[in-house]
Amino acid sequence: MHFFKHFLQQRRSLRRLTFYFAAIALVCLAFADIVISTRSPGHELWLMAKGLVTPRIEDSHQWLDAVIYTLTFSLQGVILAAGLGFVLSIFYHLAWVRVLGACLRSVHEVFWALIFIQIFGISTLAGVLAILLPFGGTIAKVYGEQLEESDPSPARALLPGGGTSISHFFYTRLPLAFHAMRNYTAYRMECAIRSSVVLGFIGLPTLGFHLETALRTGDYSSASALLLTLLALVYSLRFWFKAKWLWILVPAAFIARPLSAQWSAANLGQFLWDCVPGPIRQDWPLEKTLRWLLWLGEQIASGVWNTALLAQIVLVLTGIFALLGSTLNSSHFVAGMARSTGDGFLLILRSLPEYLLNFIGLIVLGPSMLPAIIAMTLHNGAIIGHLLGGHSDEIEPAAIPSGPLCRFAYYYVPTLYQRFLAYCFYRWEIIIRETAMLGILGIPTLGFYIDSAFEFLRFDVALILIAVSAGMTLSADYISRKLRHQFLKPDLRPAHGSQIQMAPLTFRNP
């Protein structure tokens, strides 16, 4: 009884915050549609496992072409996004720049791609723009925070308020943040390769395009080869994605696959005209408009409900998986080879895009929310787990030695809990964005309705729904900022965002 009284009275109780999140997730779970509808999931998994160990490249010419497209999309996208983000970050103190950045990144790259494919056809420009815009928004935020957090004293040594001219920026501000910015750009390149593969699933000619075909037709050996190619690309990044190589790589990327588009002014005009909401464009009578609004409202309500439902379940499961998984990369629990293996496992999971994991899950388990839950939990949990485990190296070993279970519950979790929550809150808006997007694969989150709107060429509806999903992402960002501000230590609050940014992929040497 006493415990409950205390529980309710404490003002900033992390325990209570966690309890509410878990309770909401449990309620959501009761409403969620979770079934295994395939007859023999084990058999399908067995076939996949067999395929995984017998990778085969059917058509090496086609394979090479897809690899080049994957790399050029991601390289061009990231370099242009870094440029855009950099310019925005210089002006990050202006409110409208921050809003612009937030809007750009609140729309998933898959949705951007769906829009640009309508305008530019299946083309390099559509693919690159789809990566460039959301990545530019994210990079602007992180660069902006990294610049804000850099030491202001050298700038103030020259002018009392710190110089505001371009020269002062390049001499006294940029050098201080440059290293962190470069590391973050390397991490974004890893994300861009994943995104580039995912864009293949909706028709662009990257690895994902062939991966989808292979998975759909049950050709798991080809799928395995493509999957291993993806892992190899991500893993090899640190050998070739280096500042000194970019002078060659970037021009090479633009020469290998120049930006092109099947573009016509008439086409664009038609698209823009179609984006005007139907009732206004075709001057519908009131009654028809009302029916349209009801129909649209139903989609929004269902999409928002399912997106929120799924995202809250995933958020909590991600947290649990991350806490448990982080022990695989923590000096408090494992060492030497065991740790390298554990961390390698987390890094491989993190390298697999949730879209791909969800796609595989659908084949094995059949359509329901379950594959999406598993896919996002594994992907996001592995990202947080890897970082949290790495961070745990910085804390002292427990003063009182005890078994691993007690150490986990009484020392490891309590000491790391604030940082763990910071990671989860940071990831929340990303989980919402992903949940909305995964609807494309059939679960009725916003993406499902967006995809079908595109299919029926109802661009007005599609854009409204995309705006709703952006609004959801922005509100998650807003709530998470509030919560971080209220509950977390000052150095984990939103003002110090870049401290909890994702670091580039590093494998640990035993």
Binding site: P154, R156, H168
Partner: protein, 225 residues
């Protein structure tokens, strides 16, 4: 000599850490005039308000004064050359500055080498600032202040990390390159050899203000009691 700056009934405060509490007093000055040609040694125990006064003077003089902060405040990632050059950013166009960042111009290199020579850091121009010792960093900060080429110098403990002899030479160099100097110093003896006027702060107040040659050893003693 014309007055550069006159402070009257000046109360300098800093915000209190606790919320809903009035700002705390850092320094109260009834009257203080800084004239052209003054070489002022700003003395006092730590916490007496030296840095506060310097910052205030700097704020008042805006871009007429060059500034040499207590902690060198260099950009650790840049070479010594660029750190010193950054003192001159306002004299050149953005284009010249950015070009010099990527391709250091030989003209500036010659200028800065000549400046660095008497400071004993001309060998270090192409070293990154974070690889320097504390004393070296301080000399780079001094070079940066000199390269601002302003008529007035404001310096906060500019030679605290240097040995006595070196400190004196560099201090002399600093005051000789500026018409007017205000230098906060911990070491009173060293300050008195290069300055012509002493301002002593004690208990957040102006305690002493007189020419060096009229100074009694007694008053310095009282200042540090």
């Amino acid at each position: 000599m014309s007055a550069l700056l006159e402070l009257k009934d000046c109360r300098l405060t800093y915000p209190s850490n606790a919320r809903n509490e009035a700002d705390k007093l850092a320094l109260a000055i009834d009257h203080l005039t800084i004239r052209e040609g003054d070489r002022i040694a700003l003395l006092g125990k730590s916490g007496a308000g030296k840095s506060t006064l310097l910052r205030h003077i700097r704020h008042q003089l805006a871009d007429r004064a060059s500034w040499c902060p207590q902690d060198a405040s260099l950009v650790p990632q840049l070479k010594v050359f660029h750190n010193i050059y950054s003192g001159a950013l306002d004299r050149h166009s953005g284009f010249v500055n950015l070009t010099n960042l990527l391709l250091p111009s030989s003209h500036f290199e010659a200028e800065i080498t000549a400046l660095a020579e008497p400071l004993g850091i001309s060998e270090l121009l192409w070293t990154k600032a974070d690889e320097l010792s504390g004393g070296q960093q301080q000399r780079v900060a001094i070079a940066r202040a000199l390269y601002q080429q302003k008529p007035i110098l404001l310096a906060d403990e500019p030679v605290s990390a240097l040995d006595k002899l070196q400190g004196r030479e560099i201090l002399e160099l600093l005051v000789s390159r500026h018409d007017t100097s205000v230098i906060a110093m911990h070491n009173a003896q060293l300050a008195l050899t290069v300055c012509n006027r002493v301002i002593g702060l004690k208990d957040q107040k102006l305690f002493l203000d007189c020419p060096v040659d009229q100074l009694s050893a007694d008053s310095i003693g009282q200042l540090y009691q």
